[in-house]
């Protein structure tokens, strides 16, 4: 009884067309990463468990895929632990490695391990899959790619400016017109918590605010209240929810709101610097917009934070995000290295581009020419022709057997090949081959000795 094959929940096979589309997005991202001076690194798919555990909160720890030790792993568990029969106690005894959960913690680990080989400021990009044992849903998978660009070892605000330009360059190149790059600053949020008298509850305040999109203003206020933020404080935070207008207008409002908070004012100054520089340089198709309710869940951010939303009318969460973190490598022993980075959500960008039909047609063409096969002698001549075309850089193929012509044409059709070559015994005896344009039906005859002529026509 053969197995009926399936794949694990939350994972995907990618067909040739899907791979081509994903590659198109990734290569576009990669091209601009490199033009902006970022260099690629790669880290292993699994890390030692202690590198990952405890870095993403309790929820994160649960969602990390753990790898079972090899060999007779169970004999190494002491009897006391074993008899407890508790998963949490057993895990560290039977699993020493885990699949990476994001690219940021492995990057911090990399920087610390290789600090003596690295020339700071270090601009690195990394495009690799990550794994999370999350509940799968639309646009959320258990295996997915992250595309990250980070700079470590420079606290210059020029980096933030550049990252905004990088978002704009990539989304513009993908023809994803009308994205909004939302920006805020953790120091502004700290300032607000300070002036409303909730400084000690900054994290709860931030976590609640982060849910604004999902639970609305009332929901956020209710959650703040439940976490111990006073009614009075919440009342004083109200301007947060009504602030509107241009980034400049909002910055003016923030200045008066935060005038008493040193950290808050420093956040405002940073935002002002970035907004001004971006404006001077100009953006192609994206818009930079201050959003004081933008919080971003990850606690390691300490300065600017970013989030990119898809063009209006497309129902999709953020398609990118990032920010500045001042202490990330500290967990691995390297202090005072400031970093800032952004990430692109490949799967969501893919979905948005599908919805807006932004993939160029030529992506799904995987073969330029198919040569039909009319028998032993013809096939041999065809193979030679195909070899010549290939060495001229043409994606060419020979149908492997002399099946019925109709069947071969059907194959050409289903593969979406734009040109088919006919090289039957008549053509062979005349030293020619015929090229059929599959969309117009037009046929052109070429001399077998001179396939370059066809290649020239094909390229023009």
């Amino acid at each position: 009884m053969p197995q009926k094959p399936s794949i694990p929940k939350g994972t995907r096979d990618f067909s040739p067309t899907e791979v081509a589309k994903r590659t198109y997005i990734m290569e576009t991202i990669k091209k601009h990463f490199e033009v902006f001076g970022f260099q690629p690194i790669e880290t292993p798919s699994f890390e030692n468990s202690e590198t990952l555990m405890g870095k993403y909160g309790e929820e994160g720890d649960r969602l990390i895929f753990k790898i079972l030790n090899s060999g007779d792993f169970i004999s190494k568990v002491d009897d006391v632990t074993y008899s407890s029969k508790k998963s949490s106690s057993l895990i560290p005894k039977i699993s020493e490695k885990a699949l990476r959960y994001d690219l940021t913690v492995p990057f911090a680990r990399y920087v610390v391990m290789h600090q003596n080989e690295i020339d700071f400021p270090f601009k690195r990009y990394q495009i690799q899959p990550v794994w999370r044992a999350d509940r799968p849903q639309k646009g959320r998978f258990r295996e997915f790619y992250q595309c990250d660009a980070d700079i470590v070892g420079s606290d210059s605000l020029l980096q933030e400016t550049e990252l905004v330009q990088l978002y704009d360059a990539i989304f513009s190149d993908l023809k994803l017109v009308g994205t909004t790059i939302k920006i805020n600053n953790r120091k502004v949020l700290s300032g607000i918590a300070e002036v409303i008298g909730a400084k000690h509850l900054l994290i709860d305040f931030t976590v609640a605010l982060d849910k604004l999109d999902k639970i609305g203003e009332d929901g956020v206020k209710r959650e703040m209240l439940s976490k111990g933020v006073s009614e009075n404080s919440i009342e004083r935070a109200s301007p947060l929810f009504t602030m509107s207008g241009s980034s400049e207008t909002q910055l003016e409002q923030l200045k008066s709101l935060l005038s008493k908070s040193e950290i808050g004012m420093s956040g405002v100054a940073e935002l002002e610097h970035i907004v001004k520089h971006v404006e001077d340089l100009g953006l192609q198709t994206a818009k930079l917009q201050l959003d004081v309710t933008l919080a971003r869940g990850l606690n390691y951010y300490t300065g600017a934070i970013f989030e990119v939303s898809a063009p209006k009318g497309v129902d999709m969460g953020s398609i990118g995000g990032g920010g500045r973190y001042d202490n990330l490598t500290g967990i691995f022993g390297l202090k005072d290295v400031s970093g800032v980075g952004i990430s692109f959500g490949l799967d969501r960008i893919y979905l948005v581009m599908e919805e807006l039909e932004l993939f160029p047609d030529e992506i799904s063409v995987s073969l330029d020419v198919l040569c039909l096969n009319f028998g032993e002698a013809e096939g041999k001549a065809a193979l030679k022709l195909v070899s010549q075309l290939r060495s001229l850089g043409i994606r060419a193929d020979l149908y492997p057997s002399s099946a019925k012509v109709q069947k071969q044409f059907k194959y050409a059709d289903r593969r979406g090949v734009p040109y088919v070559i006919l090289l039957g015994d008549k053509e062979l005896s005349e030293g020619q081959f015929v090229v059929k344009n599959m969309s117009s039906g037009k046929q052109t005859t070429y001399v077998l000795q001179n396939p370059e002529a066809f290649v020239q026509d094909l390229k023009s």
Copy 2:
């Protein structure tokens, strides 16, 4: 106390230069895969355990990395199994997924699952990492990439011919001159086992022969003997070890040796067909050589088998291998689909290319221009210039702070940047910028309004 970071045994971090070199090899392979009409697919990093287990022999099963179930996995183990405290009994209860061990079994699974969407013959390539809990040693890692090209759904020998050409095209393009593509046929091995009276011991015979490189002729004979192959049979197999000369000469010898074996003669005929076709078409830099002692360990091969050895003088095992398998998708319920494919060993190719110094120099240049930073106003002008260069496709960067000029130059030097831009207050006031060629020291002045002039010089 911060953690001292490390990575798991047998895994690697790749630095920017290493990624660039690996990408160079992979992109070259990919280019030719596509020119030969192969289409990319991708499969998940982990598969359901039952997809992988039992496909690679007992040893393979042990080397597969298993992933621990999420949640309270241990509570789902029944008491009887748990009290046995046996790893082998516990594994299926606490682990349902495993990291892929190669790309071939996932491909077979893919073909069966997607058979209704696939147009056969299906030529697919796949370049993805695989994982094995093997003992790490030189050129052998626990995480490594495989680069596979397979055709399923065609039993035409033209495929084998094409695959030889594909090896030649890729190694030639990589400037890896002087590779030897060894070819043999499982049917020839079956024929030999038959005529020496060891048909029932074919697998043991093949496995022993496969070790010829490692344990020598005497070792192979000793192993055959220990597996029950008679002295007389071994004696009759002796011509195997002494056969030499051109493929044509050896084929003639095989014809007389195997004249009584139908399967053996069909193997010889296949080899003859492939050798003849390859010869007619010609190879660029590789040599095709019949090697009747070539066995290849994997049991699923049924026809032609290939193995590529590095140029003479380089101490390295095979850098590629493959063959025809007639029943691979059968394990998942799809019968009578013949397949043939080859694989490229990325890590070994990398090592060989390092040894022979075949990587082009320009690979390690990751930045075309670095613009120095002389302060607030100059930096702003520089950022504008850098933005313009980037939009013209130049990989350009601005040093993020106005550090000492010496420090900035040192950074440029260590990053191997060929050109440095100087845009100080003098240049700014005159509307110019100076480009310094870092290898010649020559300086050229350009007008700030016209960065295109510099780009033109750079590209020429």
